[in-house]
Amino acid sequence: MAKYICSICGYVYDEANGIPEAGIAPGTRWEELPGDWVCPLCSADKSLFVKQGEATSAPAEKTRPVIDTPSDTQELSPLEMSALCTNLARGCEKQYKPEEADLFRQLADYFKSVAAPSKDPSFSRLLDLVEKDLEEGFPNANDTATQAKDRGALRALTWSEKVTRILKSLLIRYQNEGEAMLENTDVHVCTICGFIYLGDNLPEICPVCKVPNWKFEKVEGR
């Protein structure tokens, strides 16, 4: 009997115990769990689990390309400036400076309004970028931050990488299931780390950043 660990939230599926309250009998093998089974805590799919005792990441069979580092004089794009400003607005909120938070939000709105819309948006382009982040962006940034002993950057990278993995699994499911995947289910986003939760019973705390679930925001249709 083996154990499988959710790489997003740390939930452990123990084959010996099963999950009787969810109708999974003790002794149910990992392979016998249905393909659409998801983590009961964070709804990560089976591909995001690792067998206990096995390496967490895929073996380094290929050397990953090093991103040509953007030069320091790189100009931030309007949308990046907008994110910079909403970040600073949050900083002001934390310091109980509502007036300054509003001013930064005003700037953020301005930059968003002047950003050119994406030319040919598609879910498959999203998936390509997500995969590139996971294969290059995060490993490279993690190495650099580890070398610089930058715990703050490592914290942000750990959260974003987990959220990005959830995004990848959602995008793959969406490719296969389409809109049906969202029928009769709520979509929530953690406003602290960006974790996306599909389902009606929110976990008590965010499986990625551990904030209480009142920090989640329900996404309404558009």
Partner: protein
């Protein structure tokens, strides 16, 4: 300690409101539950009394944010670029999933840029960013918002530097006190040795050395130790003031009061300081010379010569008493 003021987290506040009873100025009793900064004295009594931990004391001036290495910043910027692009793509797609992905990417982008050097709204990075917006002045930029932010976020900096001045002042006061204590203890040690009280003498010398350590550190922290050229210039100024202005007055006063011993000491010191000033000037001109120079100190009056004289030109003692440096 940095000046602080109280803020209330309305979400945590359970309206048990002990803060109303303990606040000495009524700053916590407001119709909108926001503590009145202009009344708050920063005493912290409300934060201590609050049963729900809803009140925090926050500083007027935040410490500088943690420095970031260039390589981390450029890696974080690369991810920021990708997350922003994904936000943009998702914004062009319909459905709740796309909307969730758009939001999620914005939140990640914010977190990533926060760790790429933009943690603190009051940081130099943020200030530079806001200033650059005014300089570039892109079309439609809400300039008043930028100007207001620059005005609001950095107005406390002056207060912060005033605090620095107070500490600098204190460092120099401490330096003066420690320096005096050092010379005082050495004088006491000399006396104790003359009386044969050797243990007391030892303690005086040890304590004198301790005060020297304190004085050095305080002088350094006050930013007073510069390059050797600068330090020599400072020494010239000090010696010149002493021989031209300070000691002539002191000699006059001592003579008027009939204190001959003090008058002689001041006179010796005055003449010696003039020599010191001259030697410092020479040293400054020849600072880069590698030719070795020797100095000879008169142990009675403090005169310094560059060769052994027959007798001291200031106090008249024989040259063989001079100490070589």
């Amino acid at each position: 300690m940095a000046k602080k003021y109280a803020v209330r987290n309305i979400r945590l506040c359970t309206k048990d409101c002990l803060c109303l009873y303990v606040c000495p100025t009524g700053a916590t009793d407001t119709e909108n539950s926001i503590i009145d900064v202009s009344k708050c004295t920063g005493c912290g009594d409300c934060a201590d009394a609050c049963p729900s931990g809803a009140i925090s004391m926050v500083p007027f001036v935040y410490p500088p944010q943690q420095p970031k290495t260039e390589s981390v910043v450029s890696m974080m910027n690369a991810l920021l670029r990708s997350k922003s692009e994904q936000e943009n793509i998702a914004a062009g797609l319909s459905g709740r999933l796309a909307k969730a992905i758009e939001k999620s990417n914005r939140i990640m982008a914010e977190d990533i840029i926060r760790e790429a050097g933009y943690m603190l709204p009051q940081s130099q990075n943020t200030k530079d960013f806001l200033q650059s917006l005014l300089d570039k002045n892109p079309e439609g930029l809400p300039r008043e918002a930028v100007e207001k932010l620059l005005e609001n976020l950095y107005k406390n900096e002056e207060e912060g530097s005033m605090k620095d001045n107070k500490t600098k002042e204190n460092l120099m006061k401490a330096f003066a006190g420690e320096s005096q204590a050092n010379r005082k203890y050495l004088a006491y040690a000399k006396k104790a040795e003359e009386e044969g009280k050797l243990n007391a003498a030892k303690l005086f010398r040890a304590a004198a050395d301790a005060e020297t350590l304190h004085a050095f550190k305080e002088f350094e922290l006050a930013g007073k130790v510069g390059s050797t050229a600068d330090n020599i210039k400072d020494a010239i100024a000090g010696e010149t003031y002493e021989y031209k202005e300070m000691y002539p007055e002191f000699v006059k006063d001592a003579e008027a009061e009939g204190n001959k011993a003090a008058a002689t000491t001041f006179t010796f010191a005055m003449k010696a300081e003039e020599v010191h000033a001259k030697l410092y000037k020479e040293a400054l001109e020849n600072l880069d010379s590698t030719e070795e120079v020797f100095y000879y100190l008169c142990p009675v009056c403090g005169n310094i010569e560059k060769s052994v004289p027959e007798k001291c030109v200031i106090c008249g003692i024989p040259g063989d008493k001079f100490i070589k440096y």
